[in-house]
Symmetry: C2
Subunit: 143 residues, 2 copies
Amino acid sequence: MNKLQYTRENLADTLRRHGINPTHQRIEIAHALFSRQAHLSADQVMAIVNEKHSETSKATVYNTLNLFRQKKLVREVIVDPSKVFYDPNMEPHYHIYNLESGELTDIDASSVRISGLPQLPGGVVAEGMDVVIRVRPESDNNS
Amino acid sequence: MNKLQYTRENLADTLRRHGINPTHQRIEIAHALFSRQAHLSADQVMAIVNEKHSETSKATVYNTLNLFRQKKLVREVIVDPSKVFYDPNMEPHYHIYNLESGELTDIDASSVRISGLPQLPGGVVAEGMDVVIRVRPESDNNS
DNA sequence: GATGAAAATTAGACAGAGTCCAATTCCTAC
DNA sequence: GTAGGAATTGGACTCTGTCTAATTTTCATC
């Protein structure tokens, strides 16, 4: 848990703390993700941010999401072959992915125990581990 | 272990056993994947199959890979946001993904123990679990 | 407040993966 | 060999994401 209230002021502080210059567009994009605490695609972020008036270009949305990821403010979730999701939850956690609806649900990692993973090959260092349980509605044979 | 020799004849049998009509193109695509036992993208399959003479169209490569996946002859591996990999290894296993080189390595699942996973939400059934360890070369701060 | 340089944003062209569709070719059973 | 269903094809198309050159914003300094 980071901040209980995702006001623009608090978000600007959060951006600064992550070494990100808090511009208007960046704050709005952060607000879209953090106030919802949801997994959003670039598309969805774009739609939310430009809901009222067109404020932010496609290039800025992509630039900003990549910047957030580099600065470890959000996490990329790669489960859908056609688009990347951005996840504002940086606590260790895993995902359940509904293949039918595209819905993505968190699994808290603190209760999950994983053992017996092999030694990593030399010269590389782990950056993270993703666990995804793919589910589909009962008695559904598609795709 | 399925077949030690991935001859065209054996592959045709394998296709039939999975309810797939073994056409020339399908056998060649299966051969590309199984004889190499490698993780290949649609692009790479396309290149291999058309190496000598142009034999197979892009549409057929995509159709066939999707058919193979539906018939559970190969597995889809979603780790790279820009392309899907197809994996002829259907034994339970996980992956190490090198973010720098794009290289994908298998982890045998039999030694890995995962406990404490939560109950699935009602009405859905698990189709599989993917575990991916993302690694990058030591002292490398990129991306 | 004016000024100028660096940082951020923009529109739109572009690239690459994957899908779609109507037309053709290939098999198989007769 | 013929009819008919299955498979394949080229090419247009869509969609996500990147790139670029031009413009706007920001901000420190005067």
